[in-house]
Symmetry: C2
Subunit: 291 residues, 2 copies
């Protein structure tokens, strides 16, 4: 059985690696905040350095926070590329920069290693229930080799194309999500101000051409004022900022994304980065008081 090294055991990573452990894979772990791996200590080895965690691994998987973390995990002196054996398959599942993914792929190759970018969607619940969507970029043969591992963590697993494509697909996913959440927020904001019951409106529109995963899942939370994070605003800002950076590189502009990102940044400035993405409705409430 393949030896796995897992890096990053936050909310997502913790659930995801658990599925591999439960399936019987020998797993070694490195995570920056050791207390986040407390629940895994009995079933996996937790190490104090990346070098120790990855040295015998056949496959390294990372699920960390920001592109700078991804770059440091793989490309720093103390990082993965400097400390694994030749031929190791490295898989970054963090939502990160497509450009960085391409760069790390090339760097991996020049070190005699292999690299996939495999970001996910489906949030904490998807990670827990192993129903994530996994979008994969890199060499198809590596994608196929990793298939048994992806199958333990997700439900919809898609090979998108060459290195960076997984990240591009995730960006495309986040663009749709951003527009949907904003549209639902504006719709409910409209209904409330028009004096009709948003709860009745939401039910009436959910079954037709306005229906969506976001309407069904975040719509009720928006109306009940439940802003608990399924997905953090500050993480979504990271994603949409990456979208804008990448779009800028090809000289295109995405006006709706731009608008939604501005609203989220406004909420971040007001101290709401730790709320869930459905709290976007608060940006509309705030504007209302400005009138």
């Amino acid at each position: 059985m393949k030896k796995i090294a897992w890096i990053g055991t936050g909310v997502m990573g913790n659930s995801m690696v658990s599925h591999l452990i439960d399936a019987g894979y020998p797993v070694s772990i490195y995570t920056r905040s050791k207390e986040k791996a407390e629940n895994l200590k009995e079933k996996a080895e937790v190490y104090d350095s990346i070098a120790e965690a990855v040295k015998d691994a056949d496959v390294v998987i990372s699920m960390v926070g920001y592109p700078k973390d991804v770059e440091s995990v793989y490309a720093s002196t103390e990082g993965v590329f400097n400390n694994v054996k030749k031929g190791t398959l490295c898989i970054d599942m963090t939502t990160s920069s497509p450009t960085l993914a391409e760069k790390l792929y090339v760097l991996a190759q020049s070190n005699g290693l292999r690299m996939l970018d495999a970001p996910v969607s489906g949030g904490d619940i998807g990670a827990k229930n192993a129903t994530l969507s996994i979008m994969v970029g890199g060499d198809q043969s590596d994608f196929e080799e990793a298939g048994e591992l992806f199958a333990l963590m997700g439900k919809t697993i898609t090979y998108i194309g060459k290195a960076g494509s997984g990240q591009h697909c995730k960006m495309a996913n986040q663009i749709v999500v951003a527009g949907n959440i904003a549209a639902i927020s504006e719709s409910m904001y409209y209904a409330k101000n028009a004096g009709v019951d948003p709860n009745i409106v939401l039910k009436a529109v959910a079954g037709g051409s306005a229906g969506s995963w976001q309407v069904s899942n975040n719509g009720p939370k928006i109306l009940s004022g439940n802003y608990d994070p399924g997905f953090y605003i500050h993480h979504f800002i990271k994603d949409l900022t990456l979208v804008e950076e990448e779009a800028g590189k090809t000289g295109i502009s995405l006006p709706v994304v731009h608008q939604v990102l501005a609203l989220y940044r406004q909420l971040l400035d007001e101290g709401y980065g730790q709320l869930g993405t459905q709290a976007l409705i608060m940006a509309y409430k705030k504007n209302e008081t400005d009138h």
Copy 2:
């Protein structure tokens, strides 16, 4: 059995009234362009004036184009209110102004008549298959009386609230649809420019948190360049313009709707008003050449 007078037999109205005729209701018809009722002539009486069509009716139903048409149909000298018997139930199913719906409700009452606003969503296919969503405003007792008729035309039939509420609900529906179509367009535009296959991306994202009726139904049309109208751009511009007018009355602003409406107006200016709403992607293609 109730005698029905039906006004307006365009793409939507023609299918909708057919269901009433097929159910055995005696139907008299008035439509501005008589050739649009050609297929109905054998099963219903087609008249040259509203006055003739409505004079014996128990229920009058209208499905016309713009708010000005609705106002003229009901409130002009030659219109419904001046020519029906007392107590007649009038139902406007056009997507029209909520403010006008309230006004017509009051005017109907002062004429000893009853009025419902009952716009629909579900497009030409929903009208044909009698699977429309019908959103109804007015008196609840009138809504209940009309239930047998709505049930022949739609699947999800919801009483929203007082006069105008049906229209407000439809506005809320269109806000969500606008955001969704724009989000899908930006996502596919991004994917294409990032060099990944939008067809693979669409499939990968459709099953997760980005999934929606619009992704499933308009996504493939956007990618294949099939801009045949399920719903006309010029009608959607009418709807979103009404949204902005109503929002303005309560002093709120809806930045995403504003942005999407601007893109659609750009397409209208370029002569694309007769295409389907999924042709929004063309606004992005156009912008691209500007860079």
